[in-house]
Symmetry: C2
Subunit: 299 residues, 2 copies
């Protein structure tokens, strides 16, 4: 990160900002449904990278938006993402006992609560986003952001990608289908994050479309880097088991094209994303540095 | 139904209206995520009573509201309700193979798709409700309805009730806790249905509060009647196994108070709901007849 001094310090600042927004909107652990709130918060506070809320806030900053308005959406995005991780880990899907070095939600709270608290987090994301109407009643940007968030989460977004992934588990996959899965399972929420930042900041239609394209590339690069790390990293570095793709006979960019070509793809996708970000009238140096960082990350 | 001629014919008309609203908003079965859309539609078209959308539309009519605006919410309510049934039937929760005389979703599409298509239906409910903004951009009634729908669905509503139900499975329950479960697991969505009909029709705060109270009673009566039918009905009448509560050592109004007293409660709750509906300035005879019908239903 030669061109951006103190990247790690700056990232730490952003992570703290995202943590603060998330914690502001977590459900209180009280009342009859206390255990459900605990299960929701257990997974929300498991020490994720908070990449999506950070990307949302930095895209909002790129277009000089109102940071207060974006905060409920930052928390909601992390709830949507975390809900998908809880369900991914379920016995019926990936059957993982550990994530980020801790027991998964269903291992601690049981499988029924794993299903229900995942759903409750997704629903709470909507409850949280609706609180933006308290700050901006009837605001058309809030409504537009809500529609993008919901579409990129559902059958035409992340959940659609997950369903195709699950349906083809263990089967040979074409490049076309793998791209569909990655663009939906992973890119869709990155797109929603950055588009929401742009929309709430009042970016133009052209700018929103450019951000969507950059985000798609960042998401793909991120997912392919995940494939690479599953082969090259250690479980200590990663905080989860490695070589799981091989063990599960999973088709990935690495199994389709080999590590070298997969790494080239990450590099290319990141360059293209940086090219789009560089072509905008506004600049956000940290956002560019973060995009570059995604290539070289070790976890 | 002496005071309301041709109740069954009128109910059939309302059911058809609800079916039409629901079918208008179902996801098309196409593209890569075709199987997910099929799984969503399989459960949505399994021949439910459509009670919640009917209650929503009839409450909207009670206050002379715009029926077009309420249609996406009718479909969304049935999606939310159906999502909860799919998840209820999962092996990790009630482990039911049949519902309404047909194989449950996870028996047909597998457990992973059962989890994911349930979630996708919940999310699609939001995507569908947001389409009301096409008819009424930035409308404060739409926003209010969205907030009621989300709150009554989530940890402070149905999902909270389900979590407490699951957590206490097989344990002795106090009356207080059973009431909490029924008021949330069952009444919350009935409340959301009727409140949304009232809100979208522009009812006053007092009227909305009265409708919430009536709906709570209707929901409780409906759930206790369910407990009674589990003991007194046959599986042919009910389209699902009977005596399941006894088999699962489930605490219900019947096990706590006996059939006779449970039936009295249903009667009382229905009378109180009818009293509230009768105290409003506007009248909807069919809505009252439907409320009475809930007492005497056999399935």
């Amino acid at each position: 990160m030669g061109h951006y001094v103190n990247f790690q310090d700056e990232l730490k600042k952003r992570t703290d900002e995202a943590e603060a927004a998330i914690r502001q909107y977590l459900p209180p652990e009280e009342g009859f449904a206390k255990t459900m709130a605990e299960a929701m918060n257990y997974s929300m506070c498991a020490g994720g990278k908070r990449l999506r809320p950070i990307l949302m806030l930095e895209t909002c900053r790129l277009f000089h938006g109102d940071e207060e308005l974006v905060r409920p959406f930052m928390a909601a995005m992390e709830m949507i993402h975390t809900h998908s991780l809880i369900h991914d880990d379920l016995p019926a899907i990936d059957n993982d006992d550990y994530r980020r070095g801790r027991l998964t939600t269903h291992k601690v709270y049981g499988e029924a609560m794993g299903v229900l608290s995942g759903v409750a987090l997704l629903n709470y994301a909507y409850e949280t986003m609706f609180r933006a109407f308290d700050m901006a009643p009837g605001d058309s940007r809030v409504i537009r952001a809500l529609r993008v968030m919901s579409e990129k989460t559902g059958i035409y977004g992340m959940l659609g990608g997950q369903s195709v992934d699950v349906e083809n588990d263990g089967k040979p996959l074409s490049r076309e289908m793998l791209d569909y899965i990655y663009e939906h399972k992973t890119s869709a929420l990155i797109e929603a994050s950055m588009m929401t930042g742009a929309i709430l900041a009042g970016a133009s239609e052209e700018e929103i479309a450019a951000i969507e394209k950059a985000a798609r590339n960042i998401g793909l690069a991120f997912q392919i880097q995940d494939d690479i790390l599953d082969v090259t990293s250690t479980s200590e570095e990663l905080g989860k088991p490695v070589h799981s793709d091989e063990k599960n006979h999973k088709v990935t960019y690495v199994t389709l094209f080999g590590i070298h070509k997969a790494a080239q793809q990450v590099e290319e996708l990141s360059r293209e994303a940086l090219g789009i970000l560089g072509s905008l009238n506004q600049k956000n140096e940290f956002l560019c540095a973060l995009t570059e960082e995604l290539i070289s990350r070790r976890k």
